[in-house]
């Protein structure tokens, strides 16, 4: 068994060397500088804030309570406050809308690319891949550039004579939503494309032979078969959208608008580390639950066939 395993591996290195010399450095670096810090954030989320950033080592769940309640200045009693809940809700809501919009654009786009000839396919893929890697800050600035009151888009609209004053396209929820779609659209197109590439088009042929209309064939055959891909793509968009920082920060006009900004503020200006840590833990937990659920689901799907 081991001999066989050894043969399949392209390297003749002993097991011990493989682990201590090759695997350990990378795993160690991530453990020390990534996993340990996240663990520290977890611990800090249960401590009291120090006045100018940092923590006081007293156990407290105030950080978590603060999300739902406000402490009364006079008698110190807890009162329900929706301020932060609104921000959390807005994050989920914006991310959900962004996911739906990305699906509506990506499904036809990815399907279209997957059915191109072998010659034109790589060009389309390259066109989608470039924005995926290009600096998100700069892409967000570019979007702000065209959405501004005196930007090209507003100028074009005003030139048509529909309005005389510029439409409020920037520094609001609409701009944030559009920014999220703009940021994460490639995250959806690429996995959907690779899912459509594996689609067995004979199924479609069979559907037409059985007198299915195009509409029925698409919604009853193509989409159901593509479901795992659709779910994967949706999560790849939904997760980074929820915690997004740049789109709300730049396109939302600097107000604390989504959870990512709320977390950032706690460590930059507001100096409430435990509260920021508690919010980080909630965001991380939601993300990991979704990712694990997705991994298990796709594993089940694969064995279910």
């Amino acid at each position: 068994m081991t001999a066989q395993a050894e043969l399949r591996s392209p390297f003749r290195v002993s097991k011990r060397l493989a682990f201590t010399g090759l695997l350990l450095p990378a795993v160690g670096v991530i453990t020390i500088f990534m996993i340990a810090p996240v663990a520290i954030v977890f611990v800090y989320s249960f401590l009291e804030p120090a006045r100018y950033g940092g923590v006081v080592w007293n156990f407290s769940v105030e950080g978590y309570l603060q999300i739902l309640f406000e402490r009364d200045f006079v008698d110190g009693s807890l009162q329900f406050s929706a301020d932060y809940l609104v921000i959390l809700w807005r994050s989920v809501f914006q991310a959900a809308i962004c996911t739906v919009l990305c699906l509506m654009i990506s499904v036809p786009t990815a399907y279209f690319i997957a059915t191109r000839s072998e010659r034109t396919k790589p060009i389309w893929i390259f066109l989608i891949t470039v924005p995926y890697w290009v600096n998100l800050l700069i892409r967000t600035i570019a979007l702000l550039f065209i959405l501004r009151d005196d930007g090209p888009l507003n100028k074009a609209i005003m030139m048509t004579g529909l309005t005389t004053s510029p439409l409020p396209l920037s520094y609001n929820n609409f701009a944030i939503g559009l920014g999220l779609v703009y940021s994460f659209l490639p995250f959806m197109v690429l996995p959907l494309y690779s899912a459509f590439e594996r689609f067995d088009f004979r199924l479609l042929e069979a559907a037409y032979d059985l007198y299915a209309s195009r509409r029925v064939a698409f919604f009853k055959i193509v989409l159901p078969v593509m479901r795992p891909g659709l779910i994967a793509g949706s999560l790849l968009v939904f997760i980074p959208s929820i915690g997004s920082y740049l789109a709300p920060d730049i396109l939302g006009g600097g107000k604390t608008l989504m959870i990512g900004n709320l977390i950032g503020t706690q460590f930059q200006g507001a100096h409430n580390w435990p509260f920021g840590a508690a919010l980080s833990m909630i965001l991380l937990t939601v993300t990991l639950i979704v990712l694990i659920w997705m991994a298990r689901r796709s594993a089940r799907k694969n064995t279910g066939y």
Binding site: A5, L7, R8, P10, F11, R12, V13, A18, F19, G21, L22, L23, P25, A26, V27, V29, I30, T31, F33, M34, P37, I40, Y44, P108, T109, Y111, F112, T115, W124, F126, L127, P131, W133, V134, N135, L136, L137, I138, A142, L144, F145, I146, R148, G151, Y182, L204, E205, Y208, R214, F218, I239, G243, L246, I250, G260, G264, F267, S280, T287, L288
Partner: protein, 266 residues
């Protein structure tokens, strides 16, 4: 035309136009930003003739130059270190069954799963509680960590496609494991290594939020500098430096793409 479309049973009407619209949506803002970086006037909204004026301003700006140097240095070191670490990890994990395999894989890809803002906050809290002074070194460490999975995945993919018998043949011909690694594995792996390095380099160069939190006062990178410039509003200078970064990323990406394709063909 309509007839030709009917013949392809895979086609659905309207999909092509949505695809074109999607690509236009992705590119038009970038295109406008680039075009206006060549605008002669001070205003960013009024076109007043073509000029390289803002590029000259950018090149004369010592703050931008220092930030760019910092960014390039950090990206080069972070990409190189993470590629070496990722290469080791890939060699240890590819086609090898071992206890804790899933755990090792989960750890190596962990930086991809954690939301960026959480990574940023965690790194800040970690360095501050250890009493490490924030600056160049903390940026560098943070970058190395989140670059590892970006280097690991392409290298691993390349290794998985490699012919194990070549190494066995080298061993049969009395090559030592080290010699076999240098003469057989490394040359075959070169495209994977290069594309892994380039992706890590781009990712490092692009990062904003993690860098912003662990940079501390005094040290800066290009994205941080651009973000600072943005506080004064979008100026033609922002357009010019953004265009330069865009072109840089696209060139690197094209190289990585060509390397990736050549590694697939062979």
């Amino acid at each position: 035309m309509a007839n030709a479309r009917m013949k392809d049973i895979r086609a659905f009407s309207g999909f092509g136009s949505i695809a074109v619209a999607g690509v236009l949506f992705l590119y038009l803002p970038i295109l406008f930003l680039c075009v206006y970086s060549f605008n002669d006037g001070r205003s960013v909204s009024q076109w007043s003739g073509f000029s390289f004026r803002w590029y000259i301003t950018v090149f004369g700006n010592s703050g931008i130059k220092a930030a760019a140097m910092n960014s390039l240095t950090i990206a080069t070191i972070a990409a190189s270190v993470s590629t070496v670490l990722a290469l080791g990890a890939a060699m240890a994990t590819v086609n090898r069954r071992f206890k804790g395999e899933t755990l090792a894989y989960a750890t190596l890809t962990f930086p991809l799963m954690v939301p960026e803002i959480v990574t940023a906050v965690a790194s800040l809290v970690f360095f501050v509680s250890l009493g490490v002074r924030l600056g160049f070194s903390t940026i560098l460490i943070a970058h190395i960590v989140f670059c590892i999975p970006f280097a690991y995945l392409p290298i691993r993919a390349r290794l998985e496609g490699m012919d194990a018998t070549l190494n066995a043949a080298a061993a049969d011909l009395y090559a030592s494991p080290i010699r076999a690694f240098w003469r057989i594995t490394l040359p075959l792996l070169a495209p994977g290594l290069m594309s892994g390095w380039l992706l890590a380099f781009i990712i490092s160069l692009d990062d904003f939020i993690i860098t912003a939190l662990v940079a501390g006062p005094g040290s800066t990178t290009l994205p941080l500098h651009i973000y600072g410039m943005l506080r004064l509003g979008i100026t033609p200078e922002v357009n010019a430096i953004s265009t330069m970064m865009l072109v840089g990323s696209i060139v690197l990406l094209a190289i990585a793409g060509v390397l990736g394709r050549s590694s697939k063909n062979s």
